[in-house]
Symmetry: T
Subunit: 69 residues, 12 copies
C-alpha cells in the first residue's frame, strides 16, 4: 500500500452570489489545470461592499491534491 | 437566581448541499440525544472535492448545552 | 494621488435564514449611518439553537470604510 | 509505573460574584459526576452586562481528568 | 421577531484593586454614554508593576451593544 | 449516500518511550470504549523532565469518531 | 489617583513611501478628530503591487486613547 | 532623551487563594532579584483541582523590565 | 554578496511508520522535482486510525527553497 | 462582470538594507515570472545577526495574483 | 505548603537523528546549568534539508523550572 | 559535526526614528553582554504617540543565540 504526498495551494474565489459559490468557483477554476483535487479548507471569508450590500464574496481556501507517483 | 454550568462538545456535520446545512445536520443529530442545546460556534469549514466541485461540506462546530441541575 | 485612511468597526449581524444573510443584515444596518463602506471580513460565526435547529445565525464581521478627507 | 490517559472536556461556569468563582462553580458541578478531576485551563472569559455592571461572569475552561484503567 | 445588529468596541479598564474591578470600571465608564450594553469578552490582561507588586491592573475587553432600530 | 456526523474528543496520552507512542497509547485507550475512531490531530506536545531527560512524553490529541446512525 | 479607561479603534493607513509612513498617516488622520491618542499596535501589514513593486503600503493598527473623565 | 531596551521573561506563579494572587506571587518572587520590573501580561491561567475545587491557581505571565544602561 | 529570494510550499507527507518518516517522505517526493530545498517547518500533525492504532501518520509541512537567480 | 480567482504564494525576500526592501526584493523577483501580481501580506519578519547588527532582513510575505481566464 | 514560582525559558535543540532526540539534546544541555527542570512544551518543529532528506531536526521548546526559595 | 543548542530571549527595543532602528537598538544592547547572537524574529510592533505622530517605535523581538559547548 502506497504512502502518498499531497500539495496544498491557497486560492481566493469570488462570487456575486454567495460565500459557498465563491468556494465552488475557486475549485472549478483550479480543476481546469490540476488533477486529483482532494479537499479544501476555508482560511478567510471577506467581501466587497457596494450600496449597502455585498457586491462580491471573496473566500480564501487551501486546496489539497495528490502528487502523482 | 441560579448559576448554570454549560458543557461544550465538538461535532463535524457533513452535507452535500451547503455549509449551513452541514451545521444544521450536526445540530439535528446531537439533539437526538442531548437536551438543552443552546448555541454553536464554527471552528472550521472544510470539504471533499470530486469532479471539480464540492462533494461534501464538512463544518466543525462547538455546541454548548446546559447541564441539568 | 491621495493616501486614504480607513477605519474598521466590528459588528454582529443576526438572521433566522442563513449565515450569509446575517452578514447582509449587519452591512445594511451599518450603511444607514456610515458612508463609504468598503469591505468586510468574517471574524466569527455563531448561532442560537432551538428545537434541534439553528434559530438565529449570528456572524461577527469587521467592516472597513474610508474616512472622509 | 503506569502511563495514564487523560480526557479533557470544555465547560462554561457562571457566577454573579467573580471570574474565579465562575471557574469554581464549573469544577464543583463537574465533580458531581466525574472522578479524578486533575487540572483546568482558562479558554475564554466573558460575561453579561446589566445596569452598567457585570451581571454574570462566564468563564470557559478545559478540565482534564484521568481515565480509569 | 426582529433580527438585531450589535456593535463591539474595545476598551481597556484599569484598577489598583483587581483584574475583575478593571473590567467593572471599563463597563461603568462605557455605560455613561452607551445604552444597551450586552456582553463583554476579555481580550488581554496586563498591568503595571511598582515596588514588587501590581500597581494597576489593565484589562482589555470587547464590549457588545445592540444598535437601536 | 449518507451524511455522517462526527464527534471530536480531546485526550492526552503519556509514554516514557516517545512522542509517537504517547499518541498510540491515547488511541489504544480510547478504542477500548469507542467504536469507529477515525482520525486524530495533535493539539500540544509536552512532557515531564527528570534527571536531564524526558521522563514522560505527554501528547494532547483531538480524536474524531463517527456517531452511529 | 485616577483609574482611566482607554478605547481602542482599528485604522488602516496607506502610503506610497514606506510601511512606517503608512502608520504615521493613519495616526495623523486620527489626531485631527481624537484627543489623547496614546499608543498603537500593528495588526497587519499589507500592500498593493504595480509593475513589480509596492504601489501602496497598507498597515492596519489599533490606536488607543484615553476617554475623558 | 534615551531609548531604553526591555527584556521580557516568562514566569508561572501559584496561589491557593486566587488567580490575581498567583500573579502577585510571581512578581514578588521576581522582584527579589530583578530591578526595574515594569509591566506584566497574562499568557495562560491554569490550576490544579482537588476535592471538587481549585487547589492551586497557576498563572503564567510575561514580565518586562528595563535593561540598565 | 547576493540577496536571495525563497519560496515556501505546503506539503502533506504520509507514512505508516512514524511522524518523522511522514516528513521525510514529503521531502523526498519534493526533491524529485525541486532543487535547492532548504528548510521545513511542521504545520500540522494528523493521522488516520484503524483497529485501535495509527494507520497513517500525516504531517503537513512548509518547505522552503531558493529561487534560482 | 467576471468573477476572478486569485492564487496566493508564500515568498521570503532578504535585504541587507531594510525590512521594506526585503519585501520589495521578493516582489521584484516574483514579477519576473508571474503576471498580474496584485497584493501582498506580511507573514513573518526575521533576520540574521552579525557583529551586533542586522546582517539580513528576511521578510516572509504572501503574494496574490489573478489567474488568467 | 509552599506556593512555588516557575520560570520558563525557550530553547532550540538540534539532532541529526529525530525530532524527539532534538528535544532530549536541548534538555540535556539545559540541565548542565539549571537545577529543577520540570516540564517542557513544544513550540515549533523545523529542520534543515540536504540531499532530499532531513539533515538536522530543530525543535524549539519552552522548558520550565522551579525558582529556588 | 556538532548538534548545537540555542536559547531565545525576548527583548523590546525602542527608537524615535523607525521600526527597523528599534530592532537594531535591541540587538546592539543585547550584543554588549551576549556572544553568538544568531537571528531575530519580530513578535510585536507597538509605539507611543505624541502630537499626532509616533514618539517612540517599540518593537518586541525574539533573539536566538548559540549556547557555548
Amino acid at each position: 500500500m502506497t504512502e502518498h504526498t499531497y500539495k496544498t495551494i491557497e486560492l481566493t474565489g469570488s462570487s456575486a452570489e454567495s460565500s459557498d459559490q465563491a468556494i465552488q468557483n475557486a475549485i472549478a477554476k483550479a480543476s481546469e489545470t490540476i488533477k486529483n483535487l482532494h479537499w479544501f479548507e476555508v482560511v478567510e471569508t471577506r467581501g466587497y461592499i457596494e450600496q449597502g450590500g455585498v457586491k462580491y464574496w471573496q473566500v480564501t481556501i487551501k486546496v489539497g491534491f495528490r502528487i502523482e507517483d
